[in-house]
Symmetry: C2
Subunit: 255 residues, 2 copies
Amino acid sequence: MRILLANDDGIYSEGIYALYKKLTEIADVTVVAPITEQSAVGHAITVADPLRVVDFYKFGEFFGYGIKGSPADCVKIAISDIMDRKPDLVVSGINHGANLATNVIYSGTVSAATEGAMMGVRSVAVSLATKEKYDFTTSAEIGAYFAKYMYSSSLPDNAVLNINVPALSKERIKGWRFARQGNSKYLDTFAKRTDPRGGSYYWLTGEKVEIDVTPESDEYMVENGYVSVTPLMFDMTDYRMYDQLKDTEGKGEFS
Amino acid sequence: MRILLANDDGIYSEGIYALYKKLTEIADVTVVAPITEQSAVGHAITVADPLRVVDFYKFGEFFGYGIKGSPADCVKIAISDIMDRKPDLVVSGINHGANLATNVIYSGTVSAATEGAMMGVRSVAVSLATKEKYDFTTSAEIGAYFAKYMYSSSLPDNAVLNINVPALSKERIKGWRFARQGNSKYLDTFAKRTDPRGGSYYWLTGEKVEIDVTPESDEYMVENGYVSVTPLMFDMTDYRMYDQLKDTEGKGEFS
């Protein structure tokens, strides 16, 4: 099995290193990841600037290509140029923090996986559902489990699984379940502050005001001790609305 | 009707100005847009840096708030802080260039609309399907048409319509149709070059290798002279795969 490993926390981060160690036990792993943190970049790609590729070594046992760009850039350049042939799988993570519910759309971790699927490579995004300092060993094992699962599955070449692991010891994790993206509600607020030169600036903050507690919601599962496994797609069409509008509203003319 | 107008080409761009002129004939318009071009930023939001808001005037008739941030940032800060109450509609555009098929996921224009929908405001993204210099008058009229359409429709608060206007004179546009996002295939390539100091860099290029020619594809419609209207959603769950996996694969345990 040949794996392309990317992330959005950056090539220096603990999560990618922990996952690398587990994945190299079962696969030939190429690491291509951003050289700086790229959280919340969504599915950004770099079109107006050049990309640089730098070699990155850690502890004499971890080698990767560092990219000054977004997670999606990393996957594009890895598959197009760095790797001599297409990998069997793209794995992204481990993200330090959950990628659940409506927040998935902001996720750089998920965008690396989605980009893989858009290039015809099945992909897995792995996130550990805590921002606190936490050991990545269990989530790395679970990430490797789903890499094997995806590799041996009959899912199509454009399949993406978004895995979120609760911050619990292995014994306390109850198992895994397929989930759908939850509909939790957030309230965005901005802290307004004054800089040392007297100028004002805003800083995004925000709080969850309502969690989606339906049993099949990804967030609810993770809260209840399960690993959530959500199949994602990169087609953003709202098919339900499309079918309804197509039939009831039909079409229009301007002149 | 109160409209929040945003874009990704930047507050200085011709497309937002043309759309502003048409929208102010039918609505009270607040402009909040990036101060620099933000194309291909996807659904990025700024979490690790402060945001600045600057006043922007043009020709004594156009006023807006310029944000050093992404299109999604603009919509977040506009609805949370700048506007005294929620707008009836978010309109994003006019983008100078199409946002069709699988490219929708990279679109800053679309992300501003999607962010509006996530905040409970119906949204319309408008793009003109050419990168060449082109007059925005017709696409601005069509954008205003769909702002009215959306305002008077009974679509839910989280509805997003992605409008793409062919680069044709008004007389040659055949009308509009509901569409789904097409499945066109692209080949990513990177030009590898050497900078003046001898370092190497890559620059993303790419070509369309296959266009989705099914009649309901957004791209095919625009190629055939129709305005495409695609309802989008921000839930990325692949429900078809979810239903299938949930039933056939069930669930798993780790211990």
